[in-house]
């Protein structure tokens, strides 16, 4: 190709770059659409494949399958991305990834001057990938903490999105209460429209909202250090896709010795994929097309690799490789000797349909889909109740919200089957825990004051909360009075926690749920009256 022909290519490169930008915007909007629709919509089944992003993620698919040593059919769409990356390279990072697009979006707001061009920790992402894979093989799931989609959705679902509701509500409450009528004629329909389209339906409250936000914010703030800091230095999904790209047949051909002193391509590359000699590393290149457009000589273009002509590539030194593998091997056995392993936290109530704890944690990718979709605001991210490796996995915290009796959404959005999809009838029979009365606080017991709020809300058709009428002596007057004391029928209680949520006492509820009796754990069985079982109850 002569130089003149190449110059004629410029409009084509420009167009390609525009297509890339349109693709980023389109996929970002698709992602946001699915995110907003991770909610009840009037039907018992969720309308769209809202968990799509997590199901095309090969990192999560490989780690979850390694951990449970089985093929998870739900995650097979990840093969599509593997295939495309083998064919096209690491296009996903530059053209599709919503986190990458958002990071590119904040780019103009960051200072350019002192940022480093060369990737700061070139081997880190690959090391992380190895640690994640090896520990997954040994049964310890870590992918969810470094996976870009988990970080993104967690931060949005548990912090940004509920906060946006909070802000909108405060603003429109202010206009509603104080602004003149003509303002409200504009603001009220606007609020209605926003509520119907993008805002969350209800205000929700989340544990770890600040931590989720901090992790996400760190990804954005790191842009000040260098462009696509997270993508280049940390993202193990990117490293994995890069590894596939290295095996693939295509890539970009960089400049040559005729370029003289010009290293514009290397300087502008957001992925740090172009070295001093202007060679373009397919393992890092996200095919953003910037260098094609900017190159004064227009020499950069696609080429297919001939055998033996592969690019530079990132590889770990042998020492580093061995060290990484060793680290991945050492962590899981250390975790097996903690007290928690012997006696799990009784407040760790997993969602209905959750697998037995070990497999549940191995499959759970901490994506927060279940927590976001929970219409009762019952599911909350765990901090340390499930051990340090359980952080951000879901559990029911019944004082703030409960598990809605007829709802089966969490099992529908779980991308890995850590929470099984239940039919409504199965859900009604799935015991996730058991309720208990704190008789020192419960009004009829402690104070002789009639109260039935828990019983009223108990959703099982044959109520799991019943009453026994007793005669109490009033502490103050000494007079006898009849009062109804509520009690739990363990065989009927499914642990949904609505009693704890609705208990009218301030502060700690007088009725609370624990994981006792949960069906997924045969060791957690409750004694039954009139039966002798293997424990001799």
């Amino acid at each position: 190709m002569r130089t003149g022909d190449r110059a004629a290519q410029k409009p084509l490169y420009r167009r390609l770059r525009l297509v890339r930008m349109a693709s980023q915007l389109g996929f970002l909007l698709l992602f946001l659409f699915l995110f907003v629709n991770t909610d009840y919509s009037g039907s018992d089944t969720i309308q769209y494949a809202v968990n799509l992003l997590f199901r095309i993620d090969p990192l999560l698919a490989i780690t979850a399958m390694l951990a449970v040593r089985a093929v998870i059919a739900l995650m097979l769409p990840a093969l599509l991305l593997v295939g495309l990356s083998l064919l096209l390279g690491r296009f996903f990072c530059g053209w599709v990834c919503p986190l990458g697009s958002l990071v590119d979006g904040v780019q103009p707001a960051m200072k350019h001057g002192r940022r480093r061009q060369t990737t700061l920790f070139p081997g880190l992402a690959m090391s992380l990938l190895l640690v994640v894979l090896v520990s997954a093989l040994l049964g310890l799931p870590l992918a969810g903490y470094v996976d870009p989609f988990s970080i993104l959705v967690r931060g949005l679902a548990q912090a940004v999105y509920p906060a946006s509701h909070n802000m909108a509500e405060s603003f429109f409450t202010m206009t509603y209460l104080h602004a003149p009528a003509w303002v409200n004629q504009i603001t009220e329909p606007l609020y209605g429209f926003l509520k119907e389209t993008v805002l969350p339906f209800e205000r929700k409250y989340f544990a770890l909202s600040l931590l989720s936000l901090a992790v996400l914010a760190a990804v954005f703030l790191a842009e000040a250090v260098q462009r696509r800091f997270f993508c280049r230095n940390i993202c193990p999904l990117g490293a994995l896709l890069g590894w596939f790209a290295r095996l693939g047949p295509t890539g970009l051909r960089g400049g040559d010795d005729d370029c003289g002193a010009c290293r514009l391509c290397s300087r502008i590359c957001r992925m740090g994929a172009i070295d001093e000699r202007r060679r373009i590393d397919p393992q890092r290149c996200s095919l953003c097309m910037d260098c094609l457009v900017r190159c004064p000589r227009q020499v950069i273009f696609f080429r297919s690799f001939l055998p033996g002509s592969r690019g530079v590539g990132v590889s770990l030194s042998r020492r580093r490789l061995v060290g990484t593998l060793a680290l991945g091997c050492v962590i899981p056995p250390m975790l097996g000797v903690r007290r928690l392993t012997a006696a799990p936290d009784p407040l760790l109530i997993r969602p209905p349909g959750a697998l037995a704890e070990v497999e549940f944690l191995q499959r759970c990718v901490r994506c927060a889909e279940c927590i976001q979709v929970c219409i009762g605001n019952g599911l909350q991210p765990v901090l340390l109740e499930a051990g340090i490796e359980g952080i951000f996995s879901p559990h029911l915290v019944a004082r703030t919200g409960y598990c809605e009796f007829n709802c089966t959404l969490c099992g529908q959005v779980c991308p890995t089957g850590a929470i099984r999809e239940l039919t409504r009838a199965e859900k009604h029979r799935t015991k996730i825990g058991n309720a208990w009365f704190d008789t020192d606080r419960c009004l009829p017991y402690a104070r002789g004051i009639p109260c039935i709020v828990c019983e009223e809300h108990c959703p099982t058709p044959d109520k799991a909360i019943k009453f026994r009428t007793v005669v109490m002596v009033d502490d103050l007057t000494g007079q006898q009075q009849e009062i109804r004391h509520p009690f739990i029928v363990d065989e009927l209680c499914i642990g949904c926690g609505i009693c704890e949520t609705k208990c009218p006492l301030p502060g700690r509820a007088a009725v609370f749920v624990t994981s006792d009796g949960e069906m997924r754990n045969p060791d957690n069985i409750l004694p039954r009256k009139g039966e002798t079982d293997q424990w001799g109850y």
């Binding site: 009840y40 509603y176 959703p459 009218p504």
Partner: protein, 305 residues
């Protein structure tokens, strides 16, 4: 104005605005004793016809809804249950009342309830979202409760409550039609019209359950239905107020309508085979002069279609 002055004034203005939050006053009503009550009790398989006749016997919806009036129809949609379980007001009863209000020339008809289960699930599964949605009429609005609209209301005549948060639309409507479903309740015995006020109040509703009867009567002094229509097409006899078992439901195909909320509750109680005196809320409201429960003072027009 420099930036500092602007910011200072902004803070002061916002402070002033927030301090001048509106207060809501409702004139307490209720005489020492209530006069005689008119009540209609109609049964039949066609619920739409039953509701129409019940209203006709009271002199027609036009007696309650003036042209251009703002109307609230307040059913019980508290639970995520389908209509056959008798835990929520039958959608046909609601629909017919909305249609009657429209025919009488209502300017707008709002339907809402402060639910116990998740709002959207309750509205959908009670059948009310669908049936109201099918009324192609701009004047009809099925609202979700908007937390901004709860206003603190002084209950001057209250014996047990001084004030409570009440939903503004329920207070400001020209015509407030209370449409409870008749069912069993673990504490109050039955839940009827007076207890249906739970759906238009905010605050910690559970806290009302201590000394419930008097508190409901107190609330009835400020939330005054123009018309009470009790849906007794099905009676939930046990495991109320939420139910969930068909064997706890008895089909009775009956609707009761009255402008007197106490009389409506008293007569509905008899459908369960109970004496009206058994329901403490009815007695408390009667004693406050909010309505009639003396059978000799209630004129019942009864019809079977």
């Amino acid at each position: 104005m420099d930036r500092r002055t602007f910011l200072r004034q902004l803070v002061l203005y916002s402070l002033g605005l927030s301090l001048s939050a509106p207060r809501f006053g409702v004139a307490a009503t209720g005489a020492e004793t209530a006069g005689a009550a008119e009540l209609s009790l109609v049964s039949g398989a066609d619920y739409s016809a039953v509701v129409r006749r019940a209203l006709q016997l009271l002199g027609g919806m036009e007696r309650f809804v003036r042209p251009g009036a703002s109307v609230v129809v307040k059913p019980n949609i508290a639970w995520d249950r389908t209509p056959e379980y008798g835990a929520t007001t039958h959608p046909l009863v609601v629909k017919t009342l909305v249609e009657l209000a429209l025919q009488a020339g209502a300017g707008e008809v709002r339907i809402f309830d402060h639910t116990c289960n998740e709002k959207r699930r309750c509205y959908v599964n009670s059948g009310i979202a669908d049936i109201v949605g099918a009324i192609a009429e701009r004047r009809v609005k099925l609202d979700y409760i908007d937390s901004r609209k709860f206003v603190e209301v002084k209950i001057t005549g209250g014996r047990s409550l001084d004030s409570w948060e009440i939903y503004r639309d329920a207070l400001t409507a020209d015509c407030y039609i209370n449409v409870p479903v008749a069912k069993h309740h673990g504490l109050s015995g039955l839940t009827l019209g007076l207890k249906n006020v739970m759906g238009v109040i905010g605050g910690n509703r559970g806290r009302l359950h201590h000394g419930l009867a008097q508190k409901l009567a107190d609330l009835a002094t400020v939330v005054r239905p123009t018309l009470t229509v009790i849906d007794a097409t099905r009676l939930l006899l046990r495991n109320g107020p939420q139910g969930g078992r068909l064997e706890d439901v008895r089909q009775t195909d009956t609707v009761i309508a009255s402008a007197d909320p106490v009389a409506a509750d008293a007569v509905a109680t008899t459908l369960f085979g109970l004496e009206p005196e058994r329901i403490e809320t009815t007695v408390a409201a009667y004693q406050m002069g909010l309505g009639q429960m003396d059978p000799n003072q209630i004129h019942i027009s009864e019809q079977r279609l």
